[in-house]
């Protein structure tokens, strides 16, 4: 094996690890992203076996994210994945905790879900979910925001109430540009910038940069492990010292 092909193989492995790292940052950004509080803080009737969503409670927010986006428990899985990374193995998505949080909360954010609950008699019927949302489910501010449609946003064919910023954070596949590999985590929501950096009227709620800072060591560890693995399995037998910096 030539040195060039070895370098290419290692670079490819590092790029793939960078993509995994971007997913970690994405998950962290979703944990940090501020969520519009529209649901009331009192227990919801008619739904047994599930905790009331309290958007100020981070653990519940993780659960909401897990239910909808990926079948993982971020808090538990992060520590497991960190252990895997430290052991020099690629991290795996943990699917064992899939049923710990039934996919309820994100669906509850769907406007159609609220409407079906009303039509099925699970909650007190009102004239129109938009004109007069259920006061036992939504906070006063939330009711106003649903009524004025400020809190509604559409994705995957559903209208959701709140959580747009968190729902629109994506990690892109890593790309190679010459000798440089890049993996982007983006938040294309129009007001993401105002949340990240603040304005004259609103205090900043940074969510992308904290996620990147907190994941830095883990991402470097991922790349370092991938590079070491690629160098070891390439069969070159050469003594290689590689420094990974981020």
């Amino acid at each position: 094996m030539t040195l060039e092909s070895l370098a290419e193989l290692i670079f490819q492995a590092a790029t793939e690890a960078l993509g995994t790292g971007a997913k970690l940052v994405e998950a962290g950004a979703k944990r940090h992203a501020p969520v519009r509080s529209v649901f009331a803080g009192t227990p919801q009737p008619h739904i047994e076996g599930h905790e009331q969503e309290d958007e100020d409670d981070p653990s519940t927010r993780y659960a909401i994210y897990n239910d909808y986006m990926r079948p993982i428990n971020i808090g538990e899985t992060m520590s497991k994945r960190t252990a895997l990374v430290k052991a020099g193995r690629p991290p795996q998505w943990d699917t064992t905790s899939q049923n710990e949080h039934a996919p309820v909360w994100w669906r509850q954010r769907r406007l159609g879900h609220l409407q079906s609950m009303r039509s099925s008699g699970l909650v007190e019927p009102k004239r129109n979910i938009i004109d007069e949302p259920m006061k036992d489910m939504l906070s006063k501010r939330g009711a106003y925001e649903v009524r004025s449609k400020r809190a509604a946003w559409s994705t995957w064919g559903h209208v959701h109430i709140g959580g747009r910023l968190r729902g629109e954070i994506y990690s892109l596949s890593p790309s190679i540009n010459g000798h440089r590999a890049e993996a982007w985590v983006i938040s294309p929501t129009p007001y993401a910038k105002f949340q990240e950096f603040g304005t004259r009227h609103n205090v900043a709620h940074p969510f992308l940069r904290p996620a990147a800072e907190e994941s830095r060591e883990e991402v470097v560890g991922l790349i370092r492990a991938a590079v070491a693995e690629a160098a070891r399995t390439s069969g070159s037998g050469a003594a290689i010292e590689i420094v990974v910096r981020l």
């Binding site: 910038k193 950096f197 603040g198 304005t199 004259r200 009227h201 609103n202 205090v203 900043a204 940074p206 940069r209 904290p210 990147a212 800072e213 907190e214 830095r216 060591e217």
Partner: protein, 139 residues
């Protein structure tokens, strides 16, 4: 024993207030996060962005990132004050309780633009992110 980012905030404000030209340039003072509505322009806000701890075998480091922004009624004032802040903070030695300063460096500008305030005035926000690393006591 580890301490929080609070001493770093105090050290930043101390450093900014130690610059006479900067103090005379800001009529509205220095505020954390957001300034009250009636504060006069220009003013400065600072905010903690991230503060992850980094553990090594022999030490504990706090690697903080702060945003420091200037709000002013014209872009020239905003940029001039931002330059004064950079002079005061970039590569500065911050004096803080129970932590030793290792790095204080401006790492990026903030991609912010003009805003319209509640009175309809155009307000310019200019600032930068500062990376401040400290070593914790007894780490």
């Amino acid at each position: 024993m580890t301490t929080s980012s609070a001493p770093i905030k105090r050290a930043i404000v101390q450093k900014l207030r130690a610059s006479p030209s900067l103090v005379s340039a800001i009529a509205g003072g220095i505020h954390e996060g957001i300034a009250p509505r009636k504060v006069r322009y220009p003013f400065i806000t600072y905010q903690l962005v991230a503060a992850p701890y980094s553990y090594t075998w022999s030490a504990v480091f706090l690697m903080t990132t702060f945003d420091v922004s200037v709000y002013a009624e014209n872009p020239v004032d905003a940029n001039n004050i931002d330059a004064l802040i950079t002079t005061a903070l970039n590569e500065a030695v911050l004096v803080m309780d129970e932590q030793s300063n290792m790095l204080c460096r401006r790492v990026s500008d903030l991609p912010t633009g003009p805003d319209i305030d509640s009175e309809g005035k155009r307000i310019y926000q200019v600032g930068g992110s500062y990376s401040i690393w400290t070593e914790q006591p007894g780490g």
